[in-house]
Symmetry: C2
């Protein structure tokens, strides 16, 4: 498999964790989101991924986009070890956590949105940072509540083995730290992330461990 | 089952289509997103859905949130008629279409974002409308390209039976029309939507057909 990734992209980070957790080797193809006006916008990459975003996974000639769709594909094609629980309601909870991150938080912090805020709306740094922190901090508080109220959390978001909820949570928490969000209101999430980061699959997927990492 | 919905919410609309398509009866519980400062923010609703968004589906005591997680749950618990194709790569394509809508388009047009643009950033109507149209119009062009380049489109996004790609596409096109986006660059999507809207499952889920519809 070949993964088109950017070290700092949280959506790429999710897929790196899933691949590692399932012990699937892959070639790392770095796509720099800032250099050369954004390598993701170059014609050969857009031919793979019309959205001009990372990640893209190529597996056996199949070109796969959207991090959650890729994770579901990996789960279906390589079911062991599983990243979804056995029962439908638990699976719905795990997917709801992942989608709260993928649909309510990350889309508002991502590069093309912050570029629009800067280049089209001409908002200053402080206003843009307040925007990002607002959506990410609010989202974390909601996630903490979802996890606690589910009654499902163990060492991880759903019991004592990792699921896609954790795969999505850890990259979001790394982004949150970069945006200087407070972790005070979300002790459960912080505790779960610590368990995750003790696992090699998660640790090896971290931005600083990637071949294209920058200081 | 009980569905908490708002007639104009595209995420609610997706779940209404999926329920209808699978012939699953449900009670409609209207949550007005504007009245009383937003009924979705009232404590009894937030206890069900900490995100304070619609939809929420309650099935046999299970409280389910996030439209795609709900659709996946319905697919798992009521597999016939299916809304995902049989093969993993086709399923990944269908989910990528759904997630391009759910993660790249809808989050930037939704109520709480446009309220932030208005109430916090104090942007005028024209600037807010340009924001919404920008993300939705761009997204439609990308979807058109994804569908065409996949080589999978038939009467619907993936072959000749509806899938979750269509379930997500139709509500997004209704929103796009409301935001006065042009359908000129997306003839394939328009053609697919016409096929969808000829099906009772889609037609009955339309905003104007809901008990809480307003002119």
């Amino acid at each position: 498999m070949k993964l088109y990734s950017y070290f700092r992209s949280s959506a790429s980070y999710r897929v790196r964790i899933a691949l590692n957790y399932k012990n699937l080797p892959y070639d790392y193809c770095a796509v720099h989101l800032l250099k050369e006006g954004g390598q993701q916008k170059q014609a050969d990459y857009v031919a793979l991924n019309p959205n001009a975003v990372v990640p893209t996974l190529v597996d056996d000639g199949h070109v796969l986009t959207q991090s959650l769709a890729i994770c579901e594909y990996l789960e279906e094609t390589h079911p062991e070890p599983p990243l979804l629980p056995a029962h439908a309601a638990d699976r719905a909870y795990v997917r709801a956590i992942a989608q709260t991150i993928a649909c309510e938080m990350q889309p508002l912090q991502n590069l093309r949105v912050t570029q629009y805020l800067k280049n089209v709306l001409h908002l200053d740094d402080e206003t843009r940072n307040a925007w990002t922190r607002h959506w990410v901090q609010n989202g974390l508080v909601i996630l903490e509540r979802m996890v606690l109220e589910s009654g499902r959390a163990g060492r991880f978001c759903c019991g004592d083995t990792p699921t896609l909820a954790d795969v999505f949570l850890v990259p979001q928490l790394v982004s949150a730290a970069r945006f200087e969000c407070s972790t005070d209101p979300t002790p459960t999430l912080a505790r779960i992330a610590e368990h995750c980061n003790n696992l090699p699959a998660f640790a090896r997927a971290a931005p600083a461990q990637q071949p294209d990492a920058e200081p």
